[in-house]
Symmetry: C2
């Protein structure tokens, strides 16, 4: 079992990576709990819920199954889980287990953060993408007017990552997760980046996958330890995300996975970076890797104005300028503000390259 320790402003917790951990969750908890509610979605439940329940006594564990998909990060689903927690008799000494991907983790984490003003929860991620969201304590639900607008910074008490649960992931989910790993490499570590850009992501051994996840989580950990509440460098984790969020919203959620949109967003950020710093920053290598691994590298025709307006309404925007995370070199992220006009010109050029009518 591989372990990474994460220090937060309120407590520290451990990320445990290994095989077959889902059968032993009860013994991997940091303490005993009065009662437990497992929150999972309909897809994950079919594969792994019974495995996870095995280590618990029947009378101490309750289950809430939500519909799979982003639409479950709603105020209605949030309230319904609060109702279940009350009806199951959870109290301040209870635990919530988030068994699933980012949607389950964000939603169940926010329920835990607010139920009776905050109870413990642990993350049991079942996607590669969730290596990112399960560490760092950002929990949230969506508002109809924007993603993740209602939430808390509320770190888990443990992250228990059973690598075997990733074997059932469909190919586009593997792509989604690996794009975030590539992002972590881009902002921190040239060697890690080189390793990832040589990987055939659909055919990695568990050993290699654990190694990649460990490195990615370590990057994330180092950053959130230094800046838990995103006052400064935590923003670097948004490399590729400003355009990605706009793309997801504009195309409609689910058309492209989050990580696939991030991959395209990184291409745009690299275009800006290469121009600004007048050097090659692996944009071509990234495109090649994306093609090798069947990432979308072309887009339907999109309006740059509509995308830019979505980028402006992102919650990190302070003034009228649009801040973009760029790289001054591989491993060195910086925030650069662009005027609407300047970014518009760059985006139109970019869309001309990647869009196909």
């Amino acid at each position: 079992m591989t372990e990474i320790n994460v220090q937060t402003s309120t407590h520290s917790y451990t990320v445990k990576l290994g095989e077959k951990l889902r059968y032993d969750i009860r013994f991997l908890l940091p303490k005993n709990y009065h009662s437990i509610m497992i929150v999972t979605d309909s897809v994950v439940a079919k594969h792994y819920l019974e495995d996870v329940k095995k280590s618990f006594k029947a009378n101490e564990v309750h289950t809430a199954i939500i519909p799979a998909g982003e639409q479950s990060k709603s105020i209605q689903q949030f309230y319904e889980l609060q109702t279940k927690a009350i009806q199951f008799g959870l109290n301040r000494h209870s635990l919530i287990i988030a068994l699933g991907g980012g949607v389950v983790g964000d939603l169940a984490g926010f329920v835990a953060a607010t139920f009776m003003r905050g109870i413990d929860y642990i993350q049991v991620p079942t996607t590669i993408l969730a290596h990112d969201s399960s560490v760092g304590g950002k929990v949230a639900i969506n508002h109809e007017l924007g993603k993740n607008l209602i939430g808390n910074f509320y770190p888990p008490r443990a992250v228990i990552y059973d690598i075997e649960t990733l074997e059932t992931l469909p190919a586009h989910e593997v792509r989604s997760g690996y794009a975030e790993l590539v992002k972590e490499a881009f902002i921190s570590d040239k060697d890690f980046l080189g390793e990832l850009l040589q990987t055939d992501i659909q055919h990695v051994s568990n050993e290699t996958l654990i190694n990649h996840l460990q490195k990615g989580i370590q990057v994330k950990t180092d950053i959130v330890e230094a800046d838990e509440r995103e006052a400064g460098m935590r923003k670097y984790l948004n490399f590729g995300h400003t355009l990605a969020h706009a793309l997801e919203a504009e195309l409609g959620y689910g058309v492209m996975t989050h990580g696939e949109a991030v991959a395209v967003g990184m291409l745009f950020a690299l275009q800006l970076s290469e121009k600004k710093y007048n050097q090659t920053l692996c944009k071509d290598k990234l495109i090649q890797w994306m093609k090798n691994n069947h990432y979308p590298t072309t887009l339907p025709k999109l309006s740059s104005d509509r995308l830019l307006n979505k980028m402006k309404s992102d919650k990190k925007v302070i003034h009228d300028n649009i801040p973009m995370i760029l790289l001054s070199e591989i491993g060195q992220a910086v925030t650069i503000e662009f005027s609407y006009e300047e970014l518009s010109k760059e985006l139109e050029y970019f869309l001309g390259e990647v869009c196909q009518t």
Copy 2:
């Protein structure tokens, strides 16, 4: 202006008490803000909203007015305020001002705690009762199945208490607030208690009121500084509240004010305390003061079983026993667990004394 400093786990803030402060709020803020949303209710808005807006520029301040009353602490109202915050263009560098009593403070505080994962807010209490809820950072909304079940610990950035806004309070709201002051005295300070139990609460000067509020807030501050997240001694602030919450729920919210219910709850806690510690603990003096100040000292016929079941479902209950905050002496609170049967006997005796058919 009287000031009390409060240290929290994340930051410190100041409680400012004085006259006419509502006109100067902009100048009393700890820093400048990008934009501001004032949340207030329909009753307070009529009296004080324009006064508060005067110190701000018209284009930096937005207003959200909620219906007055406990029913506004709902998930629907919570979501509606989030919508307004988004539509007004608030971002992470904005401020929410909670102008009103406990309902406004709890709701607006929880909106601030969760909007974009937490933005700054200040409390501008307009009731005596809110001296209690505005300090200490407990924010919450109600669930249909129980009060304050969804919330956060999230301290404000300042509390600005304009004593003149208390002049418009109706008599039962004055009673409600003074009962919490008496509670703070009971658990901390015999002299303060003696002073309060000689007060004709409908005829206090602003100077005396500031003095009483200052002392009450200091008691609260000392306790929440030692135990912000209610792991131990913060529970002592619930002296009188276990029965009070059950009474409010059983009678229907609004039949009796919160403080009036707490006064009755303190009588019960004193009955238990006097018996357990075999000494006089001012129960008779409290009844006399309540009568002098027109507190309800009789109750309609109530079922002790129904009350006890409500007391059991309180979120502080860990096991099957019911923990009660008692006094071993004036100023010395303790938690004592009672079995259902034992408490039932005591409660029936108490109801026999105070109930009138």
